[in-house]
């Protein structure tokens, strides 16, 4: 994994504030198990920003590197591991963002 740029707190806060005023976020925040609307909004905003960072790493760095390497080499394996870590990160946010967690199938 490449060291990612630190988040822009102003941008993140703006998105969280915007989301916190959305009716569905307010409604979710009022349910007993979802926490406050500010929590729901901050979670969704942080998730979006983190997914964006991981996607940038995937498509601007890791995929070009992967395409330039021979599959038998150790470096190719390293890039595959890096790709897996970005997938893990994205999956975490998809699974743990309450605002959108209805997209995750459950038994």
């Amino acid at each position: 994994m490449t060291d990612q740029t630190s988040l822009d707190p102003g941008e993140l806060k703006s998105l969280a504030d915007l989301l916190s005023r959305a009716p569905r976020v307010i409604k979710l925040g009022q349910s007993t198990d979802a926490g406050s609307s500010e929590e729901v909004a901050s979670e969704a905003a942080a998730g979006l920003f983190d997914i964006r960072k991981s996607a940038e790493v995937l498509f601007t760095e890791l995929l070009p590197r992967l395409m330039s390497l021979r599959p038998e080499g150790a470096e190719f394996e390293d890039v595959l591991d890096d790709i897996a870590e970005e997938y893990r990160h994205i999956n975490y946010h998809i699974t743990n963002t309450r605002l959108f967690n209805y997209v995750v199938p459950r038994e």
Binding site: D3, S6, P9, D33, E39, A84, N96, V104
Partner: protein, 197 residues
């Protein structure tokens, strides 16, 4: 004596059925009850416990599954407490098991009653995290799991810095703190499958 029977009374008592010497609903191949805590099979079916899983194990899995809602986690914690408290005998058995992994205080407040104890590490790791890491080890090898530990350690450091920045800007950081706990659990699972203390 049938091998499908217990040699002493089922510690769950009458909650396991009228036959106090019955074991795993007389179906030890498809159903097991290692802690003697599972109620009748029909009840385990009702709560969603799968074959080979006691009610306590089931509640532990639900309570530690990141995809579980807060309501599900709360319900599983309460259910886990009831499963641990069926009788004084089983409560002591459960408390002993969990204390070894998590410490008596966590058992007393009931949180560890719904958490899977992993031997050898001293950390609490969910089945989901451990299963994922076992699959990674099998698919990608030891070096890949070691790389995961390094990557997540860097990610945690980055997130801690982000948390400080965002908190200073007045942001709500609870979800970011939750993410750090998830990565720490993943690191613990990775160490577990690698046999690192």
């Amino acid at each position: 004596m049938s091998i499908r029977s217990l040699t002493q009374e089922d510690p769950i008592g009458l909650a396991g059925g009228l036959n106090l010497y019955g074991f795993a609903d007389a179906d030890p191949v498809n159903f097991s009850d290692p802690f003697g805590l599972c109620p009748p099979k029909w009840l385990c079916d009702l709560i969603g416990a799968s074959a080979g899983e006691s009610s306590l194990e089931h509640y532990a899995q639900v309570a530690t599954d990141p995809s579980s809602s807060r309501v599900e986690k709360f319900g599983a914690t309460v259910g886990g407490l009831f499963a641990a408290l069926w009788t004084p005998d089983t409560y002591l058995q459960t408390a002993t098991t969990l204390t070894g992994a998590a410490g008596a205080s966590r058992v007393l407040v009931g949180r560890a009653a719904a958490t899977t104890a992993v031997e050898g590490v001293g950390a609490q790791v969910s089945r989901g995290a451990l299963g994922a890491m076992e699959r990674q080890l099998a698919t990608a090898g030891r070096g890949s799991v070691e790389e995961t530990i390094r990557t997540l350690t860097r990610r945690i450091a980055q997130h801690e810095a982000d948390i400080a920045t965002y908190r200073a800007a007045g942001g709500n950081v609870s979800s970011m703190e939750h993410e750090i706990r998830a990565w720490r659990e993943t690191i613990d699972a990775a160490r577990k499958v690698l046999g690192i203390q």
